[in-house]
């Protein structure tokens, strides 16, 4: 059971069974909504390896990465500021909580009205959704720094720059990464939702067009692609976290 072979095989079993079941039940199916998987796979190869990648995948990924990057910079920057000034953080907390539970998709019409339907709108809306998990986690992380560490830094008269970049941010980084992971999920959702409402390129737009033209295999191939991209981004982020926080794991053993 615990040989490395079994460890790989057992989790892979269910997906394989599910995919095979999908393949065979859809093969002779008559429902137009669930086209044969073989057909979807064919279409997937035609479209996404790699004919339409520059037109639809690249803009979507750009929106996500820009949005996430701006959210990280803003979220960590503001989070450190607020976390170090406890009084201000307490004062703005109600506003932050409100913004965090406000569904960012509800802001989409607002963003469209203010900015129009370009790439900037999509990046803006992603930032409006993805900023809060990072910001709130950074504040928590910064406020959770052990008082001993603060005293040591003070008595050694650490320069402000070193204090923030070598002590504060690294100590808060486990929580910052947890925030980034939550934000990534939000970014993927907002990328898709913003492309449904206002775009002429991107995966979301492609899926919507396919749906409108009743090209079900194309639509399914787009949805599967989006699932794979979402999962792959998550894996990449976990790998980055694994390396970036290697010192943290070692320190805890």
């Amino acid at each position: 059971m615990s040989s490395p072979f079994a460890r790989l095989i057992v989790p892979a079993l269910l997906p394989i069974v599910l995919i095979l079941a999908w393949w065979y039940t859809s093969e002779g199916g008559s429902s137009i909504f669930f086209p044969p998987l073989s057909q979807i796979q064919e279409r997937f190869q035609e479209l996404w390896l790699f004919a339409l990648v520059p037109e639809h995948v690249v803009p979507s990924l750009q929106s996500i990465l820009w949005g996430l990057w701006i959210s990280i910079v803003l979220g960590v920057g503001l989070g450190v500021l607020l976390g170090l000034n406890g009084y201000v953080a307490t004062a703005v907390n109600p506003v932050l909580q409100f913004l965090r539970y406000l569904p960012a998709v509800a802001l989409l019409p607002l963003a469209i009205q203010l900015i129009g339907i370009g790439q900037e709108m999509r990046v803006t809306i992603i930032v409006l959704g993805a900023l809060w998990p990072i910001l709130l986690n950074t504040i928590d992380g910064v406020r959770g720094i052990s008082p001993g560490l603060i005293d040591v830094a003070r008595s050694n008269r650490l320069r402000n720059f070193d204090w923030i970049f070598r002590v504060v941010i690294p100590s808060a980084s486990p929580q910052i990464f947890a925030g980034i992971r939550a934000s990534l999920a939000v970014s993927v959702i907002l990328m898709f939702a913003s492309e449904l409402l206002g775009a002429s390129r991107g995966i979301g737009y492609f899926i919507l067009e396919a749906q409108r033209q009743f090209s079900l295999p194309e639509m399914w191939s787009g949805m599967i692609l989006l699932g794979i991209i979402g999962y792959a981004l998550n894996v990449v982020l976990m790998a980055i976290e694994y390396f970036a926080l290697a010192w943290h794991r070692k320190a805890r053993i």
Partner: protein, 243 residues
């Protein structure tokens, strides 16, 4: 601080520095207007109904599926990768398909919110069921406690705090997905009102509806946090330190 921000917003907006953004006074007036005219009740009802039904479904299905997966090692290992993959897929991706299958009614938002929230409950139930103290389990076994009593006195109390967290998460996710789906489909409720208000150029009432959505999210989370605290008052993690 909230007041200060509101004043800053009022001043910059009335000076005209923010472009088309209305002042908070205008938004408040629009908010009062939609309540006074009664226009708010029907969309609010639709949103709340969609939210409640999807939440109940997600919790029931999540617990029923999660428990067996958490108590059996083999079942857990078989499903862990599949669950990990499925829960990273955002529910909104299914919007085009769901619209084709069920149209743009309440069923669609319920189905989407259910699909978005059920994973949180399943995962939390699995963690909870796996967290059973092995010594306690062995004690129960050596006393030959009846199967049902083991479930009642050991499994459920252990898993309950985790499940409560799962329910709170699911409540927040259901608000989020319900409103989001109502915006993008559009499928009635507060979400569609935001979109209609924008398309109709009724900017202050658009802000009013957005504000309502935020209040709904905060309210759901606060209510379930309270409920969690009350239902689990006996649990160590919720007990007030009395020493």
């Amino acid at each position: 601080m909230v007041a200060v921000l509101l004043v800053i917003w009022q001043i910059t907006a009335s000076v005209g520095q923010l472009g088309a953004v209305p002042t908070p006074v205008e938004v408040a007036r629009a908010l009062l207007a939609i309540f006074a005219s009664g226009a708010v009740w029907e969309p609010l009802g639709t949103t709340l109904a969609g939210w409640a039904i999807s939440l109940v479904l997600a919790v029931v299905v999540g617990i029923v599926v999660g428990f067996p997966l958490g108590t059996s090692r083999l079942a857990y290992r078989l499903s862990v990768f599949t669950l990990d993959f499925l829960r990273t897929i955002p529910a909104l991706v299914l919007v085009p398909l769901v619209v084709l299958l069920y149209g743009s009614g309440l069923e669609s938002t319920i189905l989407l919110a259910f699909l978005g929230a059920v994973w949180a409950v399943i995962m939390q139930t699995i963690y909870g069921a796996r967290d059973v103290d092995p010594t306690a389990l062995q004690t129960f076994m050596s006393f030959r406690v009846r199967r049902w009593d083991t479930v009642k006195f050991l499994l459920v109390p252990t898993a309950l705090p985790y499940i409560a967290t799962g329910v709170r998460l699911a409540a927040a996710i259901c608000v989020l997905v319900t409103i989001s789906a109502q915006v993008v489909i559009p499928a009635g409720g507060l979400g569609e009102q935001i979109l209609t208000a924008q398309l109709g150029g009724a900017v202050p009432s658009m802000y009013a509806y957005i504000f309502l959505c935020g209040a709904l999210g905060v309210g759901a989370n606060a209510a379930f946090g309270k409920l969690e605290g009350r239902a689990l008052a006996w649990h160590p993690s919720h007990r007030k330190v009395s020493a």
